[in-house]
Amino acid sequence: MAGVRLRGPVYELERRLDSARAVESVIGLGVSLELRDELLRLQLATPNGSVLDADKYNQLFTMHGTTMIFLVVMPLSAAFFNLIVPLQIGARDVAFPRLNAFSYWVFLAGGVFMNVSFFTGGDLLKGELGAPDAGWFGYAPLTLNQFSPGNGINYWALGLLILGVSSMAAGFNFIVTILNMRAPGMTLLRMPLFVWMTLVTSFLIIFAMPIITVALFELLFDRLFNANFFNTAAGGSPLLWQHMFWLFGHPEVYILILPAMGIVSEVLPTFSRKPLFGYPFVVISGIAIAFMSWGVWAHHMLTTGLGTAANSAFAISTMLIAVPTGVKIFNWIGTLWGGSIKLKTPLFFSVGFIAMFVIGGLTGVMHSIAPSDYQQQDTYFVVAHFHQVLFGGALFGLFAGVYYWFPKFTGKMLSEGWGKLHFWLMLIGFNVTFQPMMILGLSGMPRRVSAYPDGLGWDFWNLVATIGAFLIALAILVFIWNVIVSLRRQERAGPDPWDARTLEWSIPSPPPAYDFAEIPRVRARDDFWHRKYVEDEAGRPVPVVAGGAEAADEEEPEEESGHGIHMPSPSYFPIIAALGFPIIAAGLIYDYAFVAVGAAVLMVGVYGWALEPASE
């Protein structure tokens, strides 16, 4: 039996390779970031910190936000899409394997390009780091040449443009895959929740990314070609940037959280041995969140003087978006209610997700009250709020997914003991880090400051938060140790270690390269579960007798049936095309000649891609 291959030459188009590469890149970027973040917390541990100067502090917190969002959470979610979605809809691959590889390589190019700025963006010989330093939101006019000379912001804008290409390519690919590649009988309302959330997220990506693309182009035109978009001296408005950034930025928040919600909606039914409570409501509230996410952006701008009418409108729309979110939370709790619960690590992380996300969501509603927001704006309370949803939410959900699907793709279970230690360290570390920030924020500590004087009553809680940050680092180490130990274990996980409900568990772990020897026919929601269990009179699941009528004809793949299956032929062109982007970007910063070189490389990639024989 073909095992899953997690290594291979760069021209291979096996989509699991892309995911494995993405996960490796994310771990690389994430761990190096984690180290830098500990510096941030060390700096703030005591008043008048002297670990970092203000300049380096600004660079590190800017790269922290940018990296966590664009280089950790988004690609991790995309790696899950890539691994899970085809399996859950009963497809053998994504719709466009080469586009998939392209998406990964462009992501890597953008991530490396942006991080190179630490060394090349400033004068390294004078001990200056040159990373972008205007925050992940890059507010104009701070980002203009006048206030941010040097190349850091250019790296930032160009890097984000490159990453946007990657996200868009992935978004298109997953929408087409989900809409077009479903197995027979897999109607939209039989799709697992994770597939639904992937679909919704992908739509958000393809509609939100063009907006930030335009905003970044405008910024670059201002910086490189003396245009006036945000130049206040020529009448340009900094608010235009804020509107465009947050019109992208708020859907982006849901791009980060919806995949995690999808994962949790898979994990809870499996470990409660009950179908997801109120499936259609969870689906529709996911769609409703996506629609409403386009009408709430100005709650990031309540203090910019938009006027009472606009503030009220956005306050109300922001409160309204809590409704579909609340529907989801009640449905998750309803799923757990009365289930026969198996207390495994994925469930721990999922329940942790719900608890932490509720706190995050409620503090979000507090922000939506405009007068109250005037007090909270730019304080640590905001920092605490969005870490509560993005760390306590998105990251906990993603870890639930890692523990849940790890056996499917490696054939080994992650250790439960280390897993639970990881969970508790992370939960405690997380709360010790971010709950003090709520207190700090409400007592007036501003965010984005590199140092604060003593005597303001902030010393104690800052020290506590720093201790928490090191607990988080310890939790990450435990997780990495768990992965190493578990991969070395001998026993195999088997195709369906959790007794789960969806199609990916009906095939061997790790899945063969062609995934399904025979494309499944789907007859119900949670089809795989219904092949395993029928209900008795009391509604309790009773295992189908082995050799039952249905199981016999479908569950035994013929040994040879994998051979006639068409697999994508290898291709170099996606990686060549991807290489064009950083060359063009570097050319825009240093020498326009390289723009031509990069464009030529891109053209070679695109034409080779278009003309090589392939069947996608």
Binding site: I175, T213, A234, S237
Partner: protein, 217 residues
């Protein structure tokens, strides 16, 4: 399956729409947001170059107050008849695009090539007209950095021109493929996809032409 006709392959998908065609529609949908953002930025700043002060906003009085651009009246900048002809040329190229797709779908290679070449030529004429217009404006003293109008005008119409240029490259590539015998009736989907893109770019110009040229502040 490698060379199965497009219609046959399409049946394999859940929606019945070919994967590539669905991809193109999604791409165009996201392009709407791209041009929407550019045009929105133009509209936000529309007229700001000639309004000395925004009402009640004293701080804004540092705006350049000239109603003119280096002595040239802004109102006289546009040559509406010229750009109307450009717009007409681009709209007509959509007609020839439709005719070339129809030709290849019924297997008429010669007709396909003639109409495709016509489309590409009309596209080139449009881009040439835009290059001429940009040069003309530049000589009259309007550049990217002159004022907000220069900034938003050149960037918005420039991105549109770049899209047309990419479209022309696609059309010429299809033409080369056709002459090499690699684009027959069975591959007409490629032409259809190029056509979708081409029509979209045309429609964008209808919006740009109306909002920027015809409805001047």
């Amino acid at each position: 399956m490698e060379h199965a006709p497009a219609a046959e392959r399409a049946l394999e998908t859940s929606t019945g729409i070919d994967n590539r065609k669905l991809l193109m529609w999604l791409f165009l949908a996201s392009e709407c947001l791209f041009f929407g953002s550019l045009i929105a930025a133009y509209l936000v700043y529309r007229g700001d170059h000639e309004v000395p002060c925004r009402a009640g906003d004293l701080a804004a009085c540092v705006f350049p107050t000239d109603r003119t651009v280096n002595g040239v009246e802004y109102e006289g900048l546009f040559d509406i008849p010229f750009t109307s002809v450009s717009a007409f040329v681009l709209l007509m190229s959509s007609v020839s695009m439709v005719l070339s797709l129809a030709a290849i779908q019924r297997g008429d290679q010669r007709g396909f090539r003639v109409w495709l070449m016509t489309t590409a030529l009309l596209g080139i004429v449009f881009v040439g007209g835009q290059a001429f217009e940009f040069t003309e404006f530049h000589e009259k003293g309007l550049s990217l950095g002159t004022n907000l109008f220069g900034t938003t005008f050149f960037v918005t119409t420039g991105f549109h021109g770049a899209h047309v240029t990419v479209g022309v490259l696609i059309l010429l590539s299809l033409l080369v493929m056709s002459f090499r015998g690699r684009l027959g009736q069975a591959q007409s989907l490629h032409v259809e996809l190029a056509g979708l893109y081409w029509h979209f770019v045309d429609v964008v110009f209808v919006v740009i032409f109306s909002l920027i040229y015809l409805l001047q502040p």
